[in-house]
Amino acid sequence: MSFKVQQMLRTVLYHLLVMLLGFVMIYPLLWMIMSSFKPTNTVFTTAGSLIPATWTLDNYINGLKGFGGIPFTTFFRNSFFISVLATAGTIVSSAIVAYAFSRLPYRGRGFLFASMLVTMMLPAQVLMVPQYLWYNKLGWVNSYLPMIVPYCFAIQGFFVYLNVNFINGIPKDLDEAAKIDGCSPYGILFHIITPLLTPALITSGIFSFIWRWDDFLSALLYVRTSAMYPASLALKLFCDPGSSSDYGAMFAMSTLSILPVLLIFIFLQKYLVDGIASSGLKG
């Protein structure tokens, strides 16, 4: 009896603690979301109070109206298009390359792995101009190609390394056994590794999607037509320090732009939990 009470107390305490910390974590965002419902000229003057004195949807209406006749939904659609394709390319290519780095030794592998790490060590900002010149030469400027195609070639070492790390954690006996059964390295990748890699693939998918979704720099360089802007770049159009800014609309559209990402996260994190646990991995 007392043990049960103790356990219940512990559960309650646990939830209380997690919720409290969680509230601190999301407070700043809550502030942003609440601000998006305040009249735009009072966003800062009433910054001290979280709950709007008067609720308004004007910011959403104004924000969705967009710029120069381009509705904001266009920007969201562009973002989706770019993020989904680039993410798919990233997940697939990174997993395949990681498989080779983890399981298939060959001469020069170490060198390639090291050069992959080295490519991550140069600040992206310094590559902006050279990359632009190169894509310009390829005739890719003012299209989405520079923001999608390279990602299909595992250019982000982070994701390759992440997958390598996970594949290393998968017991080798599984593929040894499959090999004896006559399974080719490709077969092992598809039939043995990939199912066990689900959590890593999901994790990569979440990261990649969010990073592509938030990325405005490449759009800034490569997209010259405003109607083709992704949401991340269009958001910046609300704030022009040289003239007046519409912070209310900016907060409203920022709120809308984290929604899809949040939904995807909530939807996918379920698979994170189930991933390995349900696949009956033996120690």
């Binding site: 710029f67 120069g68 101009v129 010259r224 320090p241 040289g242 007046s244």
Partner: protein, 421 residues
């Protein structure tokens, strides 16, 4: 047979493409701005398309991003046909032959400048050519909280000298607790002050001032820190830099984090008033200077230029001509880029302007124009580095970590290094 059909269909496609290209010209136009400017400019482009058939690709960005894209685009020879330009960067673009000289078009009459004053055209003349057409004028101004001064019973007047202004700052601080934002981050104030001392900040692409003038300028901040009324770096650290909505004149919860005035461009009055709390009325006057008339000038708020690499120079000029001279277009734009440069347009739209914009126009025409000197040349290459350094020096003075004398010496030394390269 098969080959022939392929050949003919190719030919057909090519013909179609050619006629498509010939039928309509296509221009790329780029500018920076906010939602109001984006909407109104797009409306003018749509109107132009309806009238002439010329279609547009537009690139809109916020100010900072705009220059990043422009720089990379110019590296790839991909500048937009028509682009908005600023006094801060135009000289560098001209020096690197990236912009088109408009002089021939003015001479041929394709660009009609009959109603534009020669002094305004001069603002876009560099290196012996006309590389930017000023599309609007404004001036530096000291925007201030009129309500606050009225309640405190403090009187100010236009063309205040530096000493008069500093006395006001002291009085405001004593009576209300409001501090003074002495042009924190407003680069043009530096030049404004040194012009009043008889030395423009830059002369022939070099630093035009010496230790004495620099020390005078930084001395203002030093004095303000000593007397306690300077709004310093710690307050600005919590604000969005340059944002009108978070300007300490209109934003803040207590006098110690607020300023009674803001040094800015005259056309900011409208945005600033919109951001001000209810019941606070703003007004504008000239910036303080040791000699206000020597300092004052009518500024080009922004240029429109045409890229040297454009494939359609004639059509670009035709559009530019329309943009500046069309009454219809400017009734949509409503002087949002500054006071229209064409006198005809200015008169035609005067009645359509909102009261605050009218106040600004009256201020520039009645106060600044009669009391001004020659407009400074666009900033030379290297100026952005000098301004960045100067901002840091002012910051250090505001933290009490640097004397005006040392600040002036650092500035002179660094400038010598920057301009000798």
């Amino acid at each position: 047979m098969k080959k022939a059909s392929v050949f003919f269909s190719l030919l057909l496609v090519m013909c179609l493409m050619c006629t498509a290209v010939m039928a309509e010209t296509h221009l790329n136009v780029a500018w920076w701005g906010n939602q109001v400017r984006n909407d109104s400019t797009q409306a003018v482009l749509d109107l132009y398309t309806k009238e002439t058939g010329t279609t547009f690709d537009v690139t809109m960005n916020s100010f900072g991003d705009y220059w990043t894209t422009l720089a990379t685009a110019s590296a790839g020879g991909q500048l937009p046909d028509v682009l908005q330009h600023s006094t801060a960067y135009i000289q560098q673009y001209v020096d690197n032959n990236l912009l088109l000289d408009l002089t021939p078009y003015v001479e041929s009459g394709a660009l009609d400048t009959a109603n534009i004053g020669e002094n305004i055209l001069d603002l876009g003349r560099m290196n012996g050519g006309l590389y930017g057409l000023c599309v609007g004028t404004n001036s530096m101004a000291c925007l201030y909280n009129k309500t606050l001064l009225k309640e405190a019973g403090i009187e100010i007047h236009d063309l205040m000298t530096m000493d008069e202004f500093m006395a006001v700052c002291r009085e405001v601080y004593e009576k209300t607790g409001y501090k003074t934002d002495l042009g924190y981050g407003t680069e043009s104030f530096f030049n404004y002050v040194t012009r009043g001392l008889g030395k423009p900040l830059f002369v022939d692409g070099k630093l035009g001032i010496g230790q004495e003038e620099a020390e005078y300028f930084y001395g203002l901040y030093e004095k303000a820190v000593q007397e306690g009324w300077l709004l310093g770096g710690d307050v600005f650290a919590s604000l969005v830099a340059g944002s009108v909505e978070q300007n300490p004149m209109v934003y803040g919860s207590s006098p110690e984090t607020m300023s009674w005035c803001a040094f800015n461009w005259s056309n900011q009055l409208k945005a600033m008033q919109a951001a001000a709390p209810e019941g606070v009325e703003l007004a504008l006057t000239t910036l303080p200077s040791p000699d206000p008339v020597k300092s004052g000038f009518v500024a080009c708020s922004m240029y429109f230029s045409i890229a040297a690499s454009t494939a359609n120079p004639d059509e670009s000029v035709r559009f530019l001509n329309y943009f500046v001279n069309s009454v219809e277009a400017n009734k949509i734009l409503l002087a949002e880029r500054g006071i229209p440069v064409s006198s005809v347009v200015g008169e035609a739209i005067a009645g359509d302007l909102d009261p605050l914009t009218q106040t600004v126009v009256a201020f520039v025409n009645n106060v600044v124009v009669p009391n001004s000197s020659e407009t400074p040349k666009p900033d030379p290459d290297g100026a952005s580095e000098i301004f960045a350094l100067s901002r840091e020096l002012v910051e250090q003075i505001s933290y009490g970590a640097l004397s005006a004398k040392d600040a002036a010496k650092t500035l002179i030394d660094t400038a010598n290094d920057v301009f000798s390269r």
